[in-house]
Amino acid sequence: MELNTASEVISLAKKLEEDGAKLYEDLAQRYIKDRETWLSFAKENRRNVIQIERAYYEVITDAIEGCFSFKINPDEYMLKTKLAENASYSDALNKAARMEEKIIKFYSDAAEQSKSLLADVPRVFMMVARKRDDRRAKLGSLLTKEG
């Protein structure tokens, strides 16, 4: 079902961040190598939630188009964050990279759809998308190192 309201989309953003954080915490448990990187990603995910919620709660007013801002198909962005028991480090890096791509697309799409409406919310979405893009680049370089 398409998501149209700001409330739904914020809830989806929170879920994506939390699911992502859990994957990174799983990686931190399994792979001592780059453990600090995984934990910092998980921590950043949870900070993103705070920033997104703050933007939404501070800008949502009775007058702005909170109920009609979006046309998001959640199925396009759902994450498969479960890692196979015997997944190699490369598998894990690839999974994380694919997850970041989906999340970047979510934030970019959501920001584009609501850009003329909620102002602060699309801005924070784009900020998070940029941070995730940096993260994707970092994952890319880790993958390259891994060979």
Partner: protein, 497 residues
């Protein structure tokens, strides 16, 4: 379907008055049920307070005034800062309470909570905002200055449509400037005001400074007649508002009386359709059309039938797909009407529209509801085409999710249509032409004007405008106007020999 948790855990709340810092059970035998409009479950009971109880509340406010008036602006501000912090801490609970007592969606309730909190934020600026001004040496050795002082006890008679926010257009400014206050919430949805009073108590406002007394028209009359009430703030219908304003004149009270509306959304051929449609959805159907700033008449300008048809089709198509349901379901875009009476009123207008020859192009009378809820208060978005300004639905306030579509050949005619209305609350133009926007802004007789904005709700640091039959009084609620309304100026000329 993400259904949020209900905010009220107790079976049925029994609401009390908050008088002189105490929660007092009313002795009245007239008790009304508060019903969740979506589920039709009784969630609270509210007393229609006795005359004595209303008088006791005013007396408490009167007795608290001298000490509160002597409390420094900075100390008063600190109470408001604490209140603001508590509102943030209880933000979600306050919002969900509004959804279950009023019916609005959770986004709308959160918006209302945010707006209410913003009022408190602005009022914390009182140490600066309440400053007077002066001039040395108006004559040699003689200085003159003006100071602003509080007046006494004020009251607010609240509407049902924004049960949490509207009293906050007034009370923080009244309290910040050193006055004391009595709120009479709407008897239809008073729970969020009770919760707010709990936070006021926790924020440490002294007893008697802020009081809540429940009741209906009777309690309102007692407040209007009370000699110790120095000023009244009222939001409601024009019919009742005129009576309130007249009574205030007779009893020498200050008054802010904000009343009904019939707002025009004027769409020019150069409007950005993609951005305009969601803005108009919020305008016409947000809060289920129950707001003084709701769009009522959609005026599509120009003789280009291709544009007219394209725009109207987009409008109707989007309206037809609005998800109507319980506001605690995050996917709901429009909740039920607040009451059966409200729905019956809107249905009556729909019948009139049909009888008077308007074309019903989207019929919301058979509600399509998301989820399994009784349809008692539900009414889906409804659109009429071919409405003229002299039709009943073209000129009277419906206060429901009913849009009337009109045509105007040019901007001049559109402005003429807007100005012919007896109301003047929140008209808007959608255009990419600065010239058209400026012309509209300049000429339209409306206290709040939108340019590419569908709901022209002023921020807390601006006054809430209104003209003609939409407002009675001189100063408005919110912002600097409110500060002047709640204070008296005192001019001092001093000479030291």
């Amino acid at each position: 379907m993400a259904l949020l948790e209900e905010p009220i855990k107790k079976e049925v709340l029994e609401l009390k008055n908050y008088i002189n810092g105490e929660w007092v059970e009313s002795k009245s035998d007239q008790i009304l049920d508060i019903v969740n409009p979506a589920t039709q479950k009784t969630i609270a009971k509210v007393p229609m307070s006795t005359r004595d109880e209303v008088n006791t509340a005013v007396q408490a406010a009167k007795e608290a005034f001298p000490d509160w008036r002597r409390t420094t602006p900075l100390s008063r501000t600190r109470c408001l800062f604490r209140l603001k912090e508590l509102m943030e801490k209880n933000f979600e609970e306050l919002s969900r309470i509004q959804t279950v007592e009023h019916g609005k969606t959770i986004d709308e309730s959160r918006g209302e909570t945010r707006r209410g909190a913003e009022m408190v934020e602005v009022a914390t600026g009182i140490p600066s905002l309440m400053m007077g001004y002066n001039l040395e040496d108006i004559a040699s050795g003689i200085d003159e200055y003006v100071i602003y002082q509080p007046v006494g006890v004020f009251c607010h008679i609240a509407p049902f449509n924004f049960p949490f926010m509207v009293p906050l257009w007034f009370s923080p400014f009244a309290l910040a400037t050193g006055n004391t206050f009595v709120v009479k919430p709407s008897p239809r949805d008073p729970i969020s005001q009770v919760k707010l009073a709990e936070l006021v108590e926790e924020a440490g406002f002294p007893p008697g400074v802020y009081n809540v007394v429940h009741g209906g028209a009777n309690a309102a009359s007692i407040l209007l007649e009370h000699p110790d009430i120095k000023g009244v703030t009222f939001v409601g219908s024009t019919e009742v508002g005129k009576g309130v304003y007249k009574k205030c004149g007779e009893t020498y009270k200050r008054a802010i009386v904000q009343t009904s509306a019939k707002n025009f959304m004027v769409v020019m051929p150069d409007a950005n359709i993609e951005a305009t449609i969601p803005a108009l959805m919020t305008s016409f159907f947000g809060n289920t059309g129950q707001r003084c700033l709701s769009g009522a008449n959609l005026v599509i300008v120009g003789e280009d039938n291709a544009f007219y048809n394209k725009f109207l089709n987009a409008f109707v198509d989007t309206a037809s797909r609005i998800r109507v349901g319980y506001g605690l379901d995050e996917s709901t875009q429009m909740g039920p009407m607040q009451s059966i009476d409200g729905k019956q009123g809107a249905l009556g207008y729909i019948e009139k529209g049909i009888k008077e020859g308007a074309k019903l192009i989207l019929d919301g009378r058979k509600p399509k509801i998301i989820g399994d809820y009784p349809d008692t208060c539900f009414l889906n978005p409804t659109v009429f085409e071919g409405v003229t300004p002299d039709m009943t639905i073209g000129k009277e306030e419906i206060f429901g999710p009913v849009a009337s579509v009109m045509r105007a050949k040019d901007l001049d005619e559109a402005i003429g249509i807007c100005n012919a209305s007896s109301y003047g609350n929140g008209d808007a133009i959608f255009t990419s032409s600065g010239k058209s926007a400026r012309e509209f802004q300049y000429r339209v007789e409306s206290g709040n004007v939108g340019i590419n904005i569908g709901i022209v709700a002023p921020m807390a640091f601006f006054p809430f405008g209104g003209m003609k039959d939409s407002f009675f009084g001189v100063l408005h609620g919110q912002g600097r106007d409110a500060i002047r309304f709640f204070t008296e100026s005192k001019v001092v000329i001093q000479r030291w020999l």
